[in-house]
Symmetry: C2
Subunit: 225 residues, 2 copies
């Protein structure tokens, strides 16, 4: 298994945390998610000040480390660095991929959000390690946003253009995760897990659906060298 | 001249940039300020997204480097790192000093805002290189804020408690800068320079007043070892 296919396996499911949870709840939910086998967590909170985001990131770093899961911080490269997270996930309004890559050499991981194949290829050249592509099936996480659905085919298209691991995001549930995973892309989920009464159960369902569809590392795909 | 007194000299005047200037104006004003001899600039913009803050930081890095002036970025350690700034200035809602210090060893500079001697001493122990203390004479930069004036004596008090260079901030003009500088503290200014018709002229006046009052490096004070 080479480094890229190892990363692809670890990015088969990323759970994004819901912003501003009630005190204490975030750690409890993340523990349940990790215990269910989730290989990657992304701390996402666009409201809280950096001091609070850092406190959360440190708490999630302890949890994710004990489960050997990856931890990403959304937007804030500084919070990711200071908390010892594995990487940062950037969007078009954040620091440019190239600037972050230069300041933080690998193995620090840099993700970038795009639904455009050319922008994805550019981000890969600039040093991104993976892409978040969506919204695949619309979104429930961004109120007021139409959440145009780009479909699972777009994830595959961006992935072929960029040549790095991709993760579909937006409206993904256990019932539609397989279509994204079938091509070897990962899946990122927020609402379906964070709003569930039993988040761990949803993570198990997702991993099962993804595992059924996802080309395993022992069956090399055209991406593997 | 030891490292601390060298830093103290370079922090005798910091000009903070005004948020969201009209396009092009920021670079032009900063050029004028640097040409007038300002030894340090702090990029301050709490409104713009990180992508825009980064663009500004890169532009100011080029300017400050050509004048051998220091560049600090307010709040955003990640923008400071990616743009190659000399340091970051943190407040109580930002990343903790200790976390940033760990992620960015010296010579990267870490400043911290406080008006409390005990908090200043703690920040120094956590790895801060200097403190911003205020509001010395109130403030015009934070609308809606009362801007309680702590006075020049407080800057001196925090400086004695922390044992690192301090910079008074808040309502400072050429006519009152001397009182802060007399004790060997530096001066940070936003409105008096950024709102001036001739920012360079105000910087020259400030430097003159500070130079008159400020214990020079060739006359060791009790701080010098």
């Amino acid at each position: 298994m080479n480094v890229e296919s190892d990363l692809r396996q670890r990015l088969r499911l990323i759970v994004l945390t819901r912003p501003r949870p009630a005190a204490g709840r975030l750690e409890r939910v993340v523990y349940e998610i990790l215990e269910a086998g989730c290989p990657a967590i992304q701390l996402r909170d666009k409201e809280s000040p950096a001091s609070e985001l850092f406190r959360q990131a440190v708490a999630l770093r302890k949890l994710t480390s004990s489960f050997e899961a990856l931890l990403f911080v959304d937007d804030r490269f500084d919070v990711a660095l200071a908390a010892g997270a594995d990487g940062v996930h950037l969007g078009p309004e954040d620091l440019p991929v190239k600037g972050v890559r230069k300041a933080a050499p690998r193995p620090f991981l840099v993700g970038y959000s795009t639904d455009d194949p050319a922008a994805g290829a550019r981000a890969a050249r600039d040093g991104a390690d993976y892409l978040g592509v969506g919204a695949v099936y619309g979104t429930r996480s961004k109120p007021g946003l139409q959440g145009e659905a780009v479909g699972a085919e777009r994830v595959a298209k961006v992935r072929r253009a960029a040549g790095i691991p991709c993760v579909g995001i937006g409206g993904i549930t256990p019932s539609n995760a397989g279509a994204v995973a079938a091509d070897g892309s990962g899946v990122a989920v927020m609402s379906a897990v964070m709003d569930a009464e039993r988040p761990g159960a949803v993570v198990r369902q997702l991993l099962e659906e993804i595992g059924r569809a996802f080309p395993s590392a022992s069956q090399p795909t055209s991406d593997d060298i």
